[in-house]
């Protein structure tokens, strides 16, 4: 067994004295699990993995790593899908998995203070008795951490109504590259000075290590109803969503799953009860006062039937609702029945252009002999065209990445962008020039340098290092008023 080649024995001992025996993973076999995140196409071995239990331990560990000349890649649960937590060769991975405490729940002021390693769904569980909940609910919420959610500005189905993570963070405790700790943001409404919290959320571990987060909690709704709507065509399903939004109906979530996804879910242990004869299903959630829910649900059914739904199923029963949502949230995992790997594309387009993008994705995959399934947050225009493949087949990998690029280009050309919730990481770094010009990226480098002039934190991610070739950026249209 070999241990970290880049770290001296003395430094390792010092780290152990700070975080304990179980907080330092130096053996090569122990480090293997940290070689990638959910983006399995990219792997690198870290020199060491450090798992502090508190802000203080993290700050002291960072000072040691800094002194030893290692760069640091922060990591939550490693559920990210773009390589944001993939180590750089010889780096230190600093994980928050042992920082799992819910520190405070304040019912009147409606906030919770948590360590960064608290699992998303556990936070909502902890708040239940107070009549509150934490709204951002990514599909990986049974595993992903609050710190990771902040790093990625994570979304989830219910961010259609409640917004992504950035709307729910009041402050963060962040450790910088010199080991200095500061609290950014404020539990009060309007903090003084520049809004540093804004760019920190979604910074993908490139500005510092987040060790604690204060999040806003939302009152639990009086009533919740889930509606399953069944369509004979994906097109009709998308049109129905557009109509619902145009009529100003306000569900808290609108999700669409296509036939291939339905089949995979129903063949798996999830068995959510989705109909076998549907080309697409729409899963809608309505929350609020009892009258609000009743009126809105009824209107949603009317619109759905107008646009060709052949059946609907409404339920307020918690167990039934849980089953229906388990199907949606477990959909990516269920695709494992089809092929060993799943390329989960995450793109975002104006709602009015979603169908166009689905068509582009379908053609791109058909032309390359790839199996495409679609799951998406229809209310936000956030699409997940998912491509099943086997990463052991290099040519298949090439075709998958090619199709992924075509989908991204189509989204950008339609006025959309590269990512709705998974982040840029490594996967989409090369495509940043489709969206931004050199000056835009230079400004992002300026921001990064303001926090971390020495590129200590997670370097080589998100922003391309080399300039964009000329004539890359399509200017956004100006429509005559």
């Amino acid at each position: 067994m070999s241990h970290s080649p880049s770290l001296s024995t003395a430094a390792l001992k010092e780290l152990v004295s700070i975080v304990g025996d179980r907080g330092v993973l130096a053996e090569s076999t122990a480090r293997t699990a940290y070689e990638s995140d959910g983006f399995m196409l990219e792997r690198e071995s870290p020199a060491v993995v450090v798992l502090p239990r508190s802000t203080d331990e993290a700050a002291r560990a960072i000072k040691v790593l800094r002194r030893e000349g290692l760069i640091v890649v922060p990591r939550g649960a490693g559920t990210g899908l773009t390589g944001g937590a993939r180590p750089t060769n010889g780096c230190a991975v600093l994980g928050t998995a042992r920082m799992r405490e819910v520190l405070e729940i304040n019912e009147v002021d409606r906030y919770a203070r948590v360590q960064a390693g608290v699992v998303n769904v556990h936070l909502t569980g902890a708040c239940k008795g107070h009549g509150l909940f934490y709204a951002p609910d990514p599909s990986s919420q049974t595993a992903c951490t609050i710190g990771g959610n902040v790093g990625n500005n994570s979304g989830g189905p219910h961010c259609f109504k409640y917004g992504s993570t950035t709307r729910h963070v009041l402050d963060v405790t962040i450790v910088d590259s010199s080991g200095e700790v500061s609290v950014v943001g404020d539990k009060n409404a309007d903090p003084a000075g520049l809004d540093w919290l804004g760019p920190i959320v979604g910074s993908e571990g490139m500005l510092g290590l987040i060790t604690e987060v204060t999040v806003r909690l939302v009152p639990a709704p009086e009533e919740t109803e889930t509606i399953l709507v069944m369509f004979e065509s994906l097109d009709a399903c998308c049109e129905a969503v557009a109509a619902m939004i145009a009529r100003r109906l306000e569900p808290s979530a609108i999700e669409i799953l296509d036939r291939l996804t339905i089949e995979a879910v129903e063949a798996s242990v999830l068995r959510a009860g989705y109909p076998a004869n549907a080309e697409a299903v729409m899963l809608v959630e309505v929350e609020g006062g009892a009258h609000e829910v009743e009126a809105t649900s009824a209107d949603i059914v009317v619109v759905a039937m107008e646009y060709g739904a052949f059946d609907t199923r409404r339920t307020t029963d918690p167990a039934e609702r849980k089953r229906l949502w388990a199907g949606r949230k477990g959909a990516f995992g269920a695709m494992g029945r089809i092929a060993p790997d799943l390329y989960v594309a995450d793109v975002v387009a104006p709602r009015s252009k979603m169908r166009e993008i689905i068509k582009v994705a379908t053609v791109a995959c058909n032309e390359r002999g790839l199996k495409l399934s679609n799951v998406f947050h229809a209310g936000d225009g956030n699409l997940h065209p998912n491509i099943s493949y086997d990463r052991r087949e290099p040519d298949e990998v090439r075709r998958v990445l090619e199709a992924g690029r075509i989908i991204m280009e189509a989204c950008v050309a339609a006025g959309g962008s590269l990512t709705g919730e998974h982040g840029v990481g490594l996967e989409k770094q090369g495509e940043m020039c489709l969206v931004f010009g050199n000056e835009d990226l230079a400004a992002m480098h300026d921001l990064r340098r303001a926090f971390d002039p020495d590129a200590f934190w997670n370097p080589g991610k998100m922003i391309p290092i080399h300039g964009c070739p000329e004539v890359q950026v399509k200017p956004l249209p100006i429509v005559s008023p």
Binding site: V108, R110, N153, G155, S164, R167, D176, E180, S182, V183, V184, N188, A189, D190, G193, L194, D195, W196, L197, G198, P199, G202, P219, E222, I245, R248, L249, G288, G289, A290, H291, E294, A295, A349, P350, R351, S352, H377, D380, G415, G416, S417, E421, V424, V435, E439, D440, L441, A442, A443, M444, D446, L447, A450, F451, M462, L476, I478, V479, P481
Partner: protein, 417 residues
């Protein structure tokens, strides 16, 4: 005007002249450059800041000036304002793109927020923040202002989707996009919200829109004995899920609640509200909202930023300092208290005796939205919690975004090393 100021401005005037940019002087004595578009504006900024042509002038973005006193307390004879309104094509609404089906509007920074609000109403939407007056979209965001809809939607910065800005180096950059959900790159645009134009001139903004509700009912309660009692009751209303108000404030000794949503739900909520308060009168529809926006504008105020649980105590402290409840407005959900500056000035000593200690104890903050007594400015400074690392980041970002110091606001402690 001093000789130095004359020289500074004449240097800037030479640049404007070379670029065919008009300079006008308004009724407040402000010198305002009016570039016709952003390209010319960028050339102007770059030239004025150029080391080969030091003019000494400082620049300040200017919309209609409704928040100028708050944004630029350091305005003096050496400051040349840059009009953002001039960059909106003449006769146009300032809308760059509005696709109702996408629920997003993109508009020039110099566009009138009132006009934008009217335009999206036609499309069945609401634009935040809901404030009255003549402000521009860029000005409102640069000033970090919030409106009566803050309880419903949260702060306006949460609904900014993307921005284009002209920074102090003459560079035009974009961050974010025109999408309601987007995590592509850093959210740089968030830095500009509340930065008071010190990092750049906001040229264009994309905002998330909210769907217009079926029913809007504004209910005014009967008077309570004190503002503090009204605040205590407002907090109970806030906690009552069967009311779930989307607007909630205390002005004077009365509660104003906005019940918004489906008609039957609003009726049910109104019945639930009556358990807590007597109803003095109520109004429905957009006009009621418009009137409430006007009432909410107290003019030159100081803003106390706290937590909901502290609102009652602070209201009590304000009253015991002799400040009449009509001079302050409490939003218990957003935990913001706006107090008219003239009222604070009149009761300065009592304010410092009664209110200041409560602010310190409760770790609240205080923001000046115009001029204020010296003791209150000092208090604001002492309550501000900008840690050393943030000062370092701030200095670095200013070096990048405003390399020649053209846009910086003098006398702001967070900009000192």
């Amino acid at each position: 005007m001093t000789m130095d100021a004359r020289m500074s401005l004449s240097g800037a005037a030479e640049v404007c002249d070379a670029l065919s940019i008009d300079i006008v002087t308004d009724g407040s004595g402000r010198h305002i450059a009016v570039p016709s578009d952003e390209v010319v504006a960028a050339q102007m900024v770059e030239a004025i800041g150029s080391p080969e042509r030091p003019s000494g002038a400082r620049l300040a973005p200017l919309g209609t000036g409704s928040s100028f006193g708050w944004c630029r307390p350091d305005h003096d004879e050496e400051t040349l304002c840059i009009s953002t309104c001039g960059m909106v094509p003449e006769g146009a609404s300032g809308i760059v793109e509005y696709v109702p089906g996408d629920g997003v509007i993109t508009a020039f920074g110099g566009a009138s927020i009132a006009e934008l609000r009217n335009a999206v109403r036609v499309g069945g939407h609401r634009l935040t923040p809901a404030i009255a007056g003549t402000a521009t979209l860029g000005g409102v965001l640069a000033a970090g202002r919030s409106g009566i809809d803050r309880c419903a939607f949260g702060p306006a910065r949460h609904h900014v989707l993307g921005m284009r800005v002209l920074d102090g180096g003459g560079r035009i950059t974009r961050s974010g996009g025109r999408l309601v959900k987007n995590v592509t790159g850093f959210d740089l645009f968030r830095l500009h919200v509340g930065a008071r134009g010190s990092l750049g001139i906001i040229l264009e903004v994309s905002m998330r829109l909210m769907p217009a509700p079926e029913t809007e009912l504004i209910v005014h309660s009967t008077a309570f004995a004190t503002a503090a009692e009204a605040v205590a009751t407002a907090l109970e209303i806030r906690a009552d899920r069967s009311v779930a108000p989307k607007i909630l404030c205390v002005h004077g000794t009365k509660i104003v609640a906005g019940l918004i949503g489906r008609e039957r739900q609003v009726s049910a909520a109104r019945r639930a509200l009556e358990v807590h308060v007597g109803v003095s009168f109520e109004e429905s529809g957009e006009r009621a909202m418009d009137e409430l926006m006007v009432e909410a504008d107290l003019g030159n105020t100081i803003r106390l930023s706290t937590r909901p649980s502290q609102c009652r105590e602070l209201a009590e402290a304000l009253e015991s300092a002799g400040i009449d409840p009509s001079a302050f407005r409490v939003e218990p959900d957003a935990a913001l208290i706006d107090v008219r500056t003239d009222a604070v000035r009149e009761h300065e000593a009592a304010f410092m005796d009664s209110v200041a200690p409560k602010l310190v104890q409760s770790a609240s903050t205080l923001t000046l939205q115009g001029s204020a007594p010296r003791s209150v400015s000092d208090l604001a400074r002492s309550l501000s919690r900008v840690a050393a690392p943030q000062r370092t980041w701030t200095n670095r970002i200013y070096t990048s975004f405003d390399p020649h110091g053209l846009l910086r606001i003098r006398g702001q402690h967070q900009f000192s090393a």
